[in-house]
């Protein structure tokens, strides 16, 4: 959640690797066992809390809704238009990508990027079963696997806070957006610098 690395570089790299593993594990757990208990609200309950249209949640594949693990509703301000190209950064089980795909229509396209290839395949399957297409690329948000100036809009939901290198993430978002492109992201911020004990705890960081 911080924007500043607290650890020396030689200590940060191993911790970053452990946290990456914990992030992969936790969000795959949400996708595979959405009935489980987690630190955060998830599924339809969370989506309704954040103002997702009930008709979206009825229309999307139940598995995509049940695995929703966002922290807000980026669609409230995304103003997506037919034909636009959208990047869903950290696309997870695919609910936000599916909703975006409905809005940009068949002349638009939605590209997901997720750290977890299993989640990518799951999101693509959820999208197909919901009547839309999205292409998901395995990749890191600090090194987005897309060309410069290739998307009109970036959406993201509760993902960037998981990165140790947020400055790099925002530079990447700037790079992949076309001139005049926009972003609508929901994420977690903290008013105070997190303690070293929290930063060093992969489970807390990943939650």
């Amino acid at each position: 959640m911080t924007d500043v690395a607290l650890l020396p570089a030689d200590e940060q790299a191993p911790l970053e690797g452990v946290i990456k593993g914990e992030v992969l594990r936790m969000y795959q757990e949400v996708a595979e066992h959405p009935e489980g208990e987690f630190h955060f609200y998830h599924g339809r309950q969370a989506a309704e809390l954040f103002g997702y249209e009930p008709e979206w949640l009825d229309r999307a594949l139940p598995g995509a809704v049940a695995s929703f693990a966002g922290v807000g509703n980026p669609h409230l301000r995304s103003a997506l238009q037919p034909g636009e190209a959208v990047l869903d950064l950290g696309s997870g089980a695919g609910l936000d990508s599916i909703i975006a795909a409905w809005q940009v229509g068949p002349t638009g396209r939605v590209i997901g990027v997720d750290l977890n290839p299993t989640m990518c395949r799951k999101a693509e399957a959820h999208a197909a079963a919901s009547g839309v297409r999205m292409a998901c690329h395995e990749g890191r948000m600090e090194d987005i696997p897309l060309p410069d100036a290739s998307v009109d809009v970036v959406i993201s939901n509760g993902v960037i806070n998981l990165s140790f290198r947020k400055r790099t993430v925002f530079r990447e978002l700037f790079r992949v957006l076309k001139p005049g492109g926009r972003l609508s992201i929901t994420d977690i911020v903290s008013a105070k610098q997190l303690s070293q004990s929290i930063v060093n705890d992969p489970k807390l960081w990943a939650s």
């Binding site: 955060f40 925002f170 926009r182 972003l183 609508s184 992201i185 911020v189 903290s190």
Partner: protein, 49 residues
């Protein structure tokens, strides 16, 4: 994140707190409150030229 968006070159950066966001487990919720943790919706635009 607001400052990081501006530093990256984005313009028209706006933020609004997400109402209703909370952690489910009481222990996490208490820690989050102590650190002023909030969910925020950010919007921003890349300059057209």
């Amino acid at each position: 994140m607001f400052v990081l968006l501006e530093d990256a070159g984005f313009q028209r950066v706006r933020s609004t707190v997400v109402p209703g966001f909370a952690f489910r487990k009481a222990s996490t919720r208490d820690a989050a409150e102590a650190y002023g943790v909030k969910a925020v919706l950010f919007t921003a635009q890349k300059p057209a030229t």
